[in-house]
Symmetry: C2
Subunit: 607 residues, 2 copies
Amino acid sequence: MATQLRVDSIRCSTEAGSGHPTSSLSAADLMAVLLAGHLRYDWDRPDLATNDHLIFSKGHASPLLYSMFRAVGVIDDVELVTTYRQFGARLEGHPTPILPWVDVATGSLGQGLPDAVGVGLAGRFLDRLDYHAWVLCGDGEMAEGSMWEAFDKASFYSLGNVTAIVDVNRLGQRGPTELEWDLESYARRVEAFGARALIIDGHDLAAIDEALRDARSDPDRPSVILARTIKAKGVPELEDKNGWHGKALPTEMAERAIAALGGVSDVHVATAHPRPDSPAITPMPNTAINWPSFALGDMVATRSAFGAAIAALATRPDVVVLDGEVGNSTHADEFQKIAPDRYFEMFIAEQQLVAAATGLAVRGYRPFASTFAVFFSRAFDFIRMAGISGVNIALVGSHAGVEIGQDGPSQMALEDIAALRAVHGSVVLYPADATATVALVGEMANTGGVVYLRTTRGAYPVIYPVGENFPVGGCKVHRASPDDQVALVGAGVTLHECLGAANELAAIGVLARVIDLYSLKPLDRDTLVATCHVTGSRLVIVEDHYPEGGVGAAVLEALADAGVPALRVAHLAVSSLPGSGTSVELLDAAGISARHIVAAALRLGEQ
Amino acid sequence: MATQLRVDSIRCSTEAGSGHPTSSLSAADLMAVLLAGHLRYDWDRPDLATNDHLIFSKGHASPLLYSMFRAVGVIDDVELVTTYRQFGARLEGHPTPILPWVDVATGSLGQGLPDAVGVGLAGRFLDRLDYHAWVLCGDGEMAEGSMWEAFDKASFYSLGNVTAIVDVNRLGQRGPTELEWDLESYARRVEAFGARALIIDGHDLAAIDEALRDARSDPDRPSVILARTIKAKGVPELEDKNGWHGKALPTEMAERAIAALGGVSDVHVATAHPRPDSPAITPMPNTAINWPSFALGDMVATRSAFGAAIAALATRPDVVVLDGEVGNSTHADEFQKIAPDRYFEMFIAEQQLVAAATGLAVRGYRPFASTFAVFFSRAFDFIRMAGISGVNIALVGSHAGVEIGQDGPSQMALEDIAALRAVHGSVVLYPADATATVALVGEMANTGGVVYLRTTRGAYPVIYPVGENFPVGGCKVHRASPDDQVALVGAGVTLHECLGAANELAAIGVLARVIDLYSLKPLDRDTLVATCHVTGSRLVIVEDHYPEGGVGAAVLEALADAGVPALRVAHLAVSSLPGSGTSVELLDAAGISARHIVAAALRLGEQ
């Protein structure tokens, strides 16, 4: 079996002319024994709730993974050998969930294990099923801090259902790893982090078998199998040789190697089925939710409204909340008070926060991960990969923009909209009041992909009546008339500044409509286009964000090909580095307060 | 002294009405002893090359830091008490280098120690001076993976000149930390990572004194002082009490506490001066550089050109190169061949990669940190904070966009331009050929702030002659005529597609100019505006990036208020999730190849 996995890994990558055969060969024995003796998986029913999970954190070993898929019979030899890494194929260079047996996209190292922690949390605390998450890791990725966030959380939450299998093949892309074959050092580290370390020879089939059995045996401690392996094992001329990372074997060398390995074979493995058998993961029932409501004019921070909304959403059993040690600021802790069993404290580890959400989403849950908006930047690569994985996760970031006041720029999200908009398949929402926030939290629980909600620290008046709808992709227009001379476009806190400015403009006879862009992606293009035709494309766009990539860019991207009149846009954004101060001082200093909006509108009126 | 630091921490935060006094009080004894007995710093000459470095990784303890500044006499009592956290003040909520004694902005946890690793690398390997980097860390931030990247690298590089002082006060923002006062667990972890662990009572002045002396004594191993402390120590009614994180004491409580502590005092500390004395850090000499040159038409990847350019730049002694274990792909390793002593392998730890660059920049070096473009997303929060710190660091990201081909979406930077443009003070460059790359690498070494260069995997023809200038903020216009009907705007790989499209269009009688936007931030607005007036704002903008926040947004933001004719823009970008394939297949499938550009231009011509 291991030999076949080696042969197939060589065949598909040589045929493709690229890929990582040597990184596959080092782990072939590990995976052969896992597949034949330990993984419990019904390959015909990948959605089975009791299936184990197999995650290749070292996603570049995709030749090995796909060779395993051939060995269990879910892909055939033709697909493996002729489509790997080809245009339009599902056997991509790094695995993605385009394949039904792949949970998450990997290829950005140090993410598979953190994702598995989310799977493990679901298994231990929510599903209460005995499936196991097996994660093949590289030794190179042990340098990623996110791996240590994962070991820490796996041990903190006693995730005996998570096993990391570290393929310690000593060689990274450009040379030796930091610790090379110093398995004792790895063992000390993972044990210090609370996991069980099992050191083995990764090419000793009996030792692998015993370690895998052992790994599953402790229900309360995650295990880490530290397997000393040889890169390119099985191809003597390349074994343990630097310079062969990420290179396919030339055809002649491949033929020689395959022949020496005994040639192409067609061994099929019958993987053990999970026990007990169980139905597929089913969507959770959608329960009636008693949403909170707020009275017009009340002063309510949207972060508080989020807290009230997420607490209401606790009646939906699929909703899970994750906190980055700021739950009392984001108000995520309102959920904890109602449903402590579905609330996970991830402490100050934002990468693991997002990865756990991803893993929980793999298990069919609807995770809401929450921290200060600015600290999602710490997990940007994880958010990006969640977008590629196509998982449904909600991210709620509070304390956005200069509005936060005295804490200063390190705590101010001023680039989050740019970053989150650029994530594949993302949705970006930014409500201005409590009513909108509650409605959008409801939308988030039913919207696919990475859905980001930006909330505000300070309290602002409720402007929308109970029951108002806020569909994703919509906007709200205030004070519209057919004679409007200018439109003031805001979102979140700047919407209030726009409304104030419109009042001032009205007092001096200037008709300004106000657009609340609570949905920044997708954007209500039609309404913006129609507005431009009314106002002669006179728009004041105001955002509590740096000028690049945010609300202004979202609007301008939407209008670029819309055939609107020549733009006369004033774009007010935070263009210099803010410091400390009150919200009012900082909004004004950034040039995004009502008086600046009035002045900008008047300047546009002269054009 | 410790008492005064406590009193002052309370005074300034109570006066401000916000801040983190309780987190300051726990560390007051640690910092008092450090200041009085161990820190070597000439406060009148913060630019002195031999000064120690003091970094508050727990930046929220700014009341303590500023109280230390008062104690050494560099700020006065009035500034401390009346300006802390006020609008326009330099005593911001979290420290930033607006203060001459602050090296880096902190406040995003888990960054100060990684930054200090960069300082330590400079001290040990470049400056070869015996200054020490003292880093005050919180226990909460020990959950950040970046801390473990830092411990790992500090030990790998034998940085005995770095000491982490961990203020283990047991309480985070919303409750107990994961490990609370389990100092033995912390010790096992840091020792497993190769550092020396020194467990002390953080309120025992003699023990602190001994530990600090001990920490400095081992030249080859970083030390971690694990200090068991009590949050709010010195204010009995708040000591070790949850619910007081980030809250100023109410006035009356503050008065009571200050009185109990003995009232306001005016003790001045004479900090030891560094020895040996030395001159200020001076700018490195700018040496003549023998830049590589490329012949027109040669096929050269811009990543290869970067390698050649950075190798040439090695003659400048202030240039340092950092690799994220892909130096043979980014071609950063060309520098290693010339100047191995100024080349640091950071392995697969991108957060530490960027933080080390930040620390080296603090020491006056010009670091170039390089990895795959997509993996800078892993360090986005570090890049953001580098922007706030105002350090000069160069980031070079290779393998951008779908152009990379078979590796698939996990390896494709498709959101990097959006993210990097949104960093405060950043510069974003994207050369199309080898000549431009070399010129821009030269610019980067003399440009302030976070400067990002995006390079391409594949080889494309050299289109610019040797000696062509590429100023930051410029662009290049090809095939311009006063009768141009449309402009094709590209950057990097899409520039070649635009040139190909312009040829095709010319063959059918359509006059198209091509704009090479090699400088995406800042952008050459004037040229774009002038072009719009020629082409009636008919632009085809083409980018190997998702549609949000990238090249299109950069152009549109620049044109929004420029008074150009009504836009007729076709924006071609990567709008669905790519898979594997060849560059040619993927560029075409994404709709950003020459034939799509031609079609878009013709459609615009009909408008």
